[in-house]
Symmetry: C2
Subunit: 201 residues, 2 copies
Amino acid sequence: MLDKPTGDWRAERREAARAEILRVAGQLAREHGLAGLSLRDLARRLGMAAPSLYSYFESKNALYDAMFTEGWQTLLDLPQPDPDPDLRTSLRRSTHAYVRWALEDPVRYQLLNQRTIPGFEPSPEAYAVAQRAYEHMMAPLRALVDVTQEDLDLLTALVGGLINQQIANEPGGTRWVGLVDDAMDLYAQWLRARATTTPAA
Amino acid sequence: MLDKPTGDWRAERREAARAEILRVAGQLAREHGLAGLSLRDLARRLGMAAPSLYSYFESKNALYDAMFTEGWQTLLDLPQPDPDPDLRTSLRRSTHAYVRWALEDPVRYQLLNQRTIPGFEPSPEAYAVAQRAYEHMMAPLRALVDVTQEDLDLLTALVGGLINQQIANEPGGTRWVGLVDDAMDLYAQWLRARATTTPAA
DNA sequence: GTCTATATGTGGATAGAC
DNA sequence: GTCTATCCACATATAGAC
C-alpha cells in the first residue's frame, strides 16, 4: 500500500542520478570525442564504480540512446524566433538559431546527425523525439508557404552541409556558417521560382 | 652491387602485399563500420598472424592513413566528364560523377570527409592528396566561370549535404541525391546572380 | 618476413557478495 | 545499489624461433 509514494521519491532520486550521469557523459564526449567515451572514465569522474552505471543504463548503447533523446529534446525546447511575414527574414532567423544550437555542441550534433558509432542505432522512442524536433523546426516555414518534402529535404541538406563542413574542416570558425544568409537568400529565391512554375502540381 | 634489382622485386612484392591488406581492410570496414575494424579480424581474413601486419603498417592509424590516401586517389583517378560550355550541364555532370563515387562506398566517404576516429588525423602527405583531389573536382567549374572561394564553399556544402543526408538517413536510397539536378540549377542561378551584382569586386 | 608466445593497458560486460 | 572480482576482446608491442 505504501509502494506508490515510496516509488515516487525513489524514482525522483533515480532520475536525478541519471541526469547527472548524462551531464558528465556529455562533458567527457566533448573532451575525448563521442567514440572516445569510456564507462570507466565516466564512473571515475562520477566517483562510482564502473559496474554501478549498469543500474541506470543497461548498456553503453542505452546511454548513447539517452544522450540522443536529450540532445533532440534541447532542440525541441529551443524557442522559435518571432514570426515574420517575410520569407527571407523568417528563414534567416530560424536557420541562425539552428546553426547556433548545432555549433554550441558539435559532438552532440555528430551524435544526432551521423551514424558514426558502430553498434548504435537510436531506439524507436528516441527517433520519435527526433521527428518531433524536425517538425518543430520546419513549422515556421510551413506556416508561411506551401512546401513539398523535396523542398524541405533541400533545405536540410543545404543547412546541414554548411554545419558539417564547418565542424569537420574549421571547428570554431565561421568560413561556412558565415554563408548562411547567402544560402537562405538562394533558397528563398528557389522556393519562389518553384511556386510560380508548378502552382498546380 | 645486387641490391638495386633485388630491392626492386622485393619492393614489388611488398607493395602487392600492402595493396591486398588495404583491399581486405576496406571490405571489413564496409562490413563492420570504420571504427569496428580490428587488426585481428584483418589478419585472420588474410590468413596471417596479427603481429605480421606490423611489417607493413607501423600502426593501426598508419593503416587508416593509407586507406585515406588511397580513397582520395580513386577520386583523383576519376575521369572528368566531357567539358560542356553550358554551366548547368557541366555542373550536373561533375556532381553526378562525384555523388556516384561517394555513394559507391559510404564508409570510404566517412573516412575521407569526417573526423570520426578518435586518434586518427591524416598525415600531411595524405592531406596533400586530398587537396589535389579537391582541385581536380573544381577544375571544370573554374575553367568555365570566375568563382570565389565562397562560391566553392557553398557548392561543397550543398553537394556534401545531400550526400550526408542520404547516407545517414536513407542508405541505399535516392531521396536526397535525387535532388542533385535541382540543387545544381539552384547553384547555377546563384553564380549568375553573383556575377551580375558584384562584377567589379 | 613470418610465426608463436607473451606482456601491458584499455574497453564493455557479468556474477556474486554486501 | 554498490562494490570487488572476473571474463573476454582488443590494440599495441616485444622477444625469439624458423
